[in-house]
Amino acid sequence: MTSKELKIKSIEYRRKILQYIVKAKAGHTGGSLSCVDVLNVLYNEVMHVSPENFTSPDRDRYIQSKGHCVEALFVVLADKGFFPEEDLNTLCRYQSHYIGHPTRKVNGVEQNTGALGHGLPIASGMAIAAKLDHKAYKVYTLLGDGEMPEGSNWEAALSAAQYELDNLCAIVDKNGLQITAATKDVCSTDPLDKKWEAFGWAVREVDGNDVDALKEALLAAPFEKGKPSVIIAHTTKGKGVSFMENQLKWHHKVPTLEEFDKANQELENAAALLL
């Protein structure tokens, strides 16, 4: 995809995230909007995974550790043809498989996640399996900066470095806000780059809402032979909608119809500027 096509894709995804959250009357709006550029680039430009090869042991794997932002994942998976998009009309409805966190009942979802601090250990296990089997697939996992204080992340960071998992790439969606307050005011993990480095990882920092920068970084991983890679993606919570950006309340606030229309209009305008 060209840079422009990727940017338009992100806007399209953002519109759909809002559309289905409004319909479901539930969802994690701010975080889904901050991380969707990462998913866009991963699924459209980087990973070798599709509905056709999803059962292949050679496919690349993606684990969404920050599972609450499932709306971003579902919208991207639907776009890639893993399931019909109209299924998302049942999002968070009674007996739907499309619940508020990733589950394997949904085609394209690798692992059930939702409780924080689980993605990196599982992804490490998959990366170890690839090494044992001499397979070339890569494993990607998306972490939230708010989930970084979970100790299991740092347990996994240690062993992934010990096992030299250069087929593993973690991306931290560093939008700086979590449910209570700014991440730095809750339990700061800064300087995050230095921490990952100290744990034996190769680190890059990018603008996580810049698809070109993301593409360059993701395709460059592993950044060092014998080291797992981490991309600290600096993002904006609520990205793309002026009145949602960097606003704590949009962590899981559902837009009213009026707010949805306004947001939609902003996103349409942004797309029009690209055309």
Binding site: P57, R104, E110, Q111, N112, T113, G114, A115, G117, H118, L120, P121, I122, A123, S124, G125, M126, A127, I128, A129, A130, L132, D133, G151, S152, E155, A156, L158, S159, Q162, Y163
Partner: protein, 328 residues
């Protein structure tokens, strides 16, 4: 009956775990042991020396241990995630629940030095809650083999079990429950009848089955015919066998190296009550307290988990039954 059995050489179930895993690994490179600095206590040093590619060491990090195991299992590996039961079933409980059971990654979660195996090390190292917490989690079976035969069989079956399995081993050498297992069929999920009798049934699991068997010997000398069941699979409970045994016998005694809350005994009692099988039941285990310290044997003796304590429990229940009859 128990005296003859002691003549047959036996070892700790943990050692059988390691030997069986080595045999399986010889034929299957997909067998992977994951340990948290516990290859020594898990008797997995020879496994690691023989199959260095098939042992993954994550250090003292139980949450990561289970997460990594889940990732490996999702890629088709037959994983045995090994760590002391006290930490594994508490610190990594959320990983067992979400990454293993909920995600249906068929990991064998192996709790070693379980119960009060680490007797003198105290409460931090005792695992008396694992049956209770794992019974409450869907899609994982809970298994505590009693002797070397059951251990070998359980591991072999667990390796190919399509769902997650929790296996629990103690440290002590465990005598065989029978002189010979010829013609026996061991099956995960099915209880194993060790002795037959229709006065009382003792249902035990893991390292408490042998003292139950000794108690049955004592009772036999006093003319009380006791059925002893090794209920090695605590979940799913073999309710068919439980029902048959309880209907046949006058009283039911359960014995386990676990808190009396939420374990084998409560599982049996709940089933019997809910199916209108009204028998006097005594649940023997560790009472709701932090245990005394000492060796496993000393702790068992303290709580009456020995031939005298168990046989007395049976006799007391039988006496109550006959008194009830006399009252009527």
């Amino acid at each position: 009956m128990a005296e003859n059995i002691e003549k047959r050489p036996y070892k700790a179930n943990l050692e059988v775990y390691s030997e069986t895993l080595q045999r399986l690994a010889e034929k299957d490179s997909g067998i992977i042991a994951v340990t948290s600095d516990s290859r020594g206590s898990g008797k997995l040093v020879p496994f690691g020396e023989k199959y260095p590619e098939q042992i993954i060491e994550v250090g003292i990090a139980e949450q990561n241990l289970v997460g990594v195991a889940a990732g490996l299992a999702s890629c088709g590996k037959k994983v045995f995630a090994t760590s002391p039961a006290c930490f594994l079933s508490a610190r990594a409980l959320e990983q067992i629940k979400n990454d293993v059971a909920y995600s249906n990654n068929p990991v064998n979660v192996v709790g070693i030095s379980a119960g009060v195996s680490y007797g003198a090390l105290g409460t931090t190292h005792h695992s008396l809650h694992d049956y209770a917490v794992l019974r409450a989690i869907h899609n994982i079976i809970v298994v505590a083999p009693a002797d070397n035969y059951e251990t070998e069989q359980a591991i072999q079956q667990a390796a190919d079990w399509p769902e997650p399995v929790y296996l629990r081993f103690g440290k002590k050498a465990m005598p065989f429950l029978k002189d010979d297992e010829k013609d026996e069929v061991f099956k995960l999920g099915k209880g194993r009848v060790i002795t037959k009798g229709d006065d009382a049934v003792i249902i035990a699991c893991g390292e408490t089955v042998y003292p139950a068997l000794e108690a049955a010997s004592v009772l036999e000398t006093e003319g009380i015919a006791t059925m002893v069941i090794s209920m090695h699979t605590i979940k799913p409970l073999d309710t068919g066998l439980l029902k048959k045994a309880a209907e046949k016998c006058k009283v039911v005694v359960t014995v386990e190296e676990h808190s009396v809350n939420g374990g084998l005994g409560e599982a049996c009692a709940a089933y019997l009550m809910q199916h209108s099988i009204f028998r006097p039941v005594k649940i023997m285990g560790i009472p709701d307290e932090y245990t005394v310290t000492g060796s496993q044997t000393e702790i068992f003796n303290h709580y009456g988990i020995n031939k005298t304590g168990i046989s007395d429990a049976v006799k007391n229940l039988l006496q109550n039954v006959s008194m009830d009859k006399a009252d009527k």
